[in-house]
Symmetry: C2
Subunit: 229 residues, 2 copies
DNA sequence: CGGTAGGTTGACGTCCCTCAAGTATTGTGG
DNA sequence: CCACAATACTTGAGGGACGTCAACCTACCG
């Protein structure tokens, strides 16, 4: 699998790399791994020398409290970069887990960062990647801080819709392979309450479930719920 | 005021800059502004060509929902860098406001980033600044997502304690110039409930108020409440 | 002295959690 | 193809955490 012909290259952080830089990137690729749904892609301590790029599928990072509760921090999709060792502050347990089956390219972290630093264009991409990342985190903070459960779930669905649109799909049918448990852990409510909310959103025709992994979204109604979206 | 002799230089993102790089940084400094407590330091749209470094005092970034609710996103202190234009996703209202009187160095954003990009050492500092920033955001997400109000407030106090310790102070008396309203908006509860919680923390001797702007913290008891801290 | 900003307290309502029972849907081996 | 288990989802009743509203207190500042 060559980076030059990679189908997700346009979404990756090295999208602006020249062919020769791309060869360097490929040179520090240590593995291309397949993970089954639910498997641990990385944890907070081990593999700290690696950085991953999602080649296909979806994954999410999470943190654990010592009473067993789990908080989903963010979702990753094709082209997204994952920094396992940096995810967890101050000894907190956590990791990155495959939401669906997924394929991940693993790079040597230090080499990878050196390559980025060596090219002005790559540094620029990296900067704007971080600004984007920051925006996403800030939006999630608002979601958790001042939105009630319905607004937060709607906002989560909206984020999936938007990210899918960014990647070209213009339809209202989105890939949303989250179980109720994932929704609950992402917005900070219980699985049962997440179920009730999905149900009411469905009854109000905001969303329609199309199999376990897809949603049909009424974008207008969704925006009514999450005003600032 | 010369950057070379700046007392907060060691906390700033350009701490690893050589003297000549520092002169460049100073060359793109457009102003050194003083803000009174409560004043708007920057908003989400205007001044997008600037980046600020807090020279003294405390500030916070916030977002507004159109129903008037306000969510505090993060706090900034001496040496922290503030990117006003990048703070707000997708047209959301918001800004950066002075929590106490504060002094802010304003730099031209593009020039500033160019200087950073031109030096390998500065790029490295910038990278680790972002990793730190990410960690902080992730911790806050956990705070808001799965902590109850008491745990969240304790965690907020803990974050202030930690950041003060990082800057040398080893005492249990911390600068905490937040009104109940700030606490409420930071952890996503109401002012009144924030007051009740501060009261119970005080009654349990976890904290003691020492004037309006200072707290004396029992670190051990605090850690009992926020287990993962 | 009054005005203002900030903090406290109580009663009551709502949102969300908990527990428990039940119904799809999916997966697996015969 | 069925039997059966495991996983995922739904529904209801009762409780706790947090919000709302209104009154009152305190410190500070002119």
């Amino acid at each position: 699998m060559n980076c030059r012909s990679c189908k997700i290259r346009e979404f990756a952080i090295y999208q602006s790399a020249t062919e020769s830089e791309l060869d360097q990137v490929m040179g520090c690729r240590k593995a291309m791994l397949t993970f089954k749904k639910g498997q641990l892609v990385a944890d907070g301590v081990k593999n700290s020398q690696f950085v991953g790029t999602i080649y296909s599928g979806l994954a999410f990072s999470f943190a654990l409290l010592n009473d067993g509760r789990r908080q989903i921090i963010s979702f990753y999709r094709e082209g997204d970069i994952v920094f396992p060792p940096e995810i967890f502050a101050r000894g907190m347990q956590g990791g990155v887990r495959a939401l669906t089956d997924c394929v991940v390219c693993q790079f040597d972290k230090n080499q990878f960062l050196e390559i980025i630093k060596s090219s002005n264009a790559l540094v620029s991409s990296y900067f704007s990647y971080w600004f984007d990342c920051k925006k996403t985190y800030e939006e999630r903070l608002i979601q958790l801080g001042m939105l009630n459960a319905e607004e937060a779930v709607a906002s989560l669905v909206g984020a999936f819709l938007r990210r899918q649109r960014e990647r070209g799909g213009m339809e209202n049918r989105i890939t949303f392979p989250l179980r109720l448990g994932h929704i609950a852990e992402a917005v900070g409510i219980t699985e049962i309450h997440a179920g009730r909310i999905m149900r009411t959103l469905e009854k109000r025709d905001v969303i329609k479930r199309d199999g376990p992994d897809h949603l049909i979204v009424d974008e207008y109604l969704l925006q009514q719920i999450v005003q600032f979206l």
